[in-house]
């Protein structure tokens, strides 16, 4: 079974300050990891993904995440946030196993990033 924990439900940060959104996962097999962003009244958009290779993944809008297998983490970072980064961020995990006939993707409960001017 796989699961995702986003430890912070809300993260307030001042504009131009750095931010880290935390994500921990559990899975019994090799995983693929994702961060999605959801702006108000919109659907989710892919921010970045880790499938294999380099553990440091760069995404859109200056975000990056690092896959740490020993700590089962995939924290999202940005060195300097902008007002436009205010949104909800979801971490997600999937694996190689087609459990129950489909490739299951498990989403975290989300972290709301509020950028303060």
């Amino acid at each position: 079974a796989q699961s995702v924990t986003q430890l912070d439900s809300q993260v307030p940060v001042f504009e131009e300050a750095p931010v880290e959104l935390r994500c921990n996962y559990s899975s019994s097999v090799s995983v693929y990891l994702f961060w999605y962003v959801q702006y108000p009244n919109q659907g989710l958009q892919l921010l970045l993904k880790y499938l294999s290779g380099s553990t440091l993944v760069k995404g859109i809008n200056g975000f990056e995440a690092e896959f740490n297998k020993s700590q089962t983490s995939f924290h999202l970072r940005k060195p300097s946030v902008h007002i436009s980064d205010t949104a909800e961020y979801f971490c997600a995990v999937s694996d190689d196993a087609y459990s129950g006939g489909y490739q299951k993707v498990t989403f975290g409960t989300g972290t709301k990033l509020q950028v303060i001017p």
């Binding site: 439900s9 693929y32 994702f34 999605y36 009244n41 919109q42 659907g43 989710l44 958009q45 892919l46 993904k49 499938l51 979801f90 999937s94 694996d95 190689d96 129950g100 006939g101 489909y102 490739q103 299951k104 993707v105 989403f107 975290g108 409960t109 989300g110």
Partner: protein, 115 residues
């Protein structure tokens, strides 16, 4: 059409009424999904379809049904709506291959209120 479209954008529905949420994709993805999003609970999978002609139950399928007559369309039906089905519903699709790793593409959502 580019990506996934959903209709309606929002709907207020009386309890006991039947409602179908529409979802169409133009990416020729084989897999499609329906999620509901509720505050503090994240996204929960209602139903999925690996390919046209097949469907399966997700985490919270009770009270919902789906069909997949072709690749592009994946409607979600509430046969007799109840207030607990008030939620935001998202349709998603993915290319069901290991190379894709399970990346999903989402529609803009339907906000449903059942009174």
């Amino acid at each position: 059409i580019a990506g996934i479209t959903q209709a309606p954008t929002s709907q207020i529905l009386a309890a006991g009424r039947r409602m179908t949420l529409r979802c169409t994709q133009d990416m020729r993805h084989n897999a499609m999904y329906w999620y509901r999003q509720d505050l503090g609970l994240g996204l929960r999978l209602i139903h999925y379809s690996n390919t046209a002609g097949t469907t399966g139950k997700g985490e919270v399928p009770d009270g919902y049904s789906v069909s997949r007559a072709n690749t592009d369309d994946f409607p979600l039906t509430l046969a007799s709506a109840v207030p607990s089905q008030t939620s935001v519903y998202f349709c998603a699709s993915s290319d069901r291959s290991t190379l894709a790793g399970g990346e999903q593409f989402f529609g803009p959502g339907t906000r449903l209120t059942v009174l």
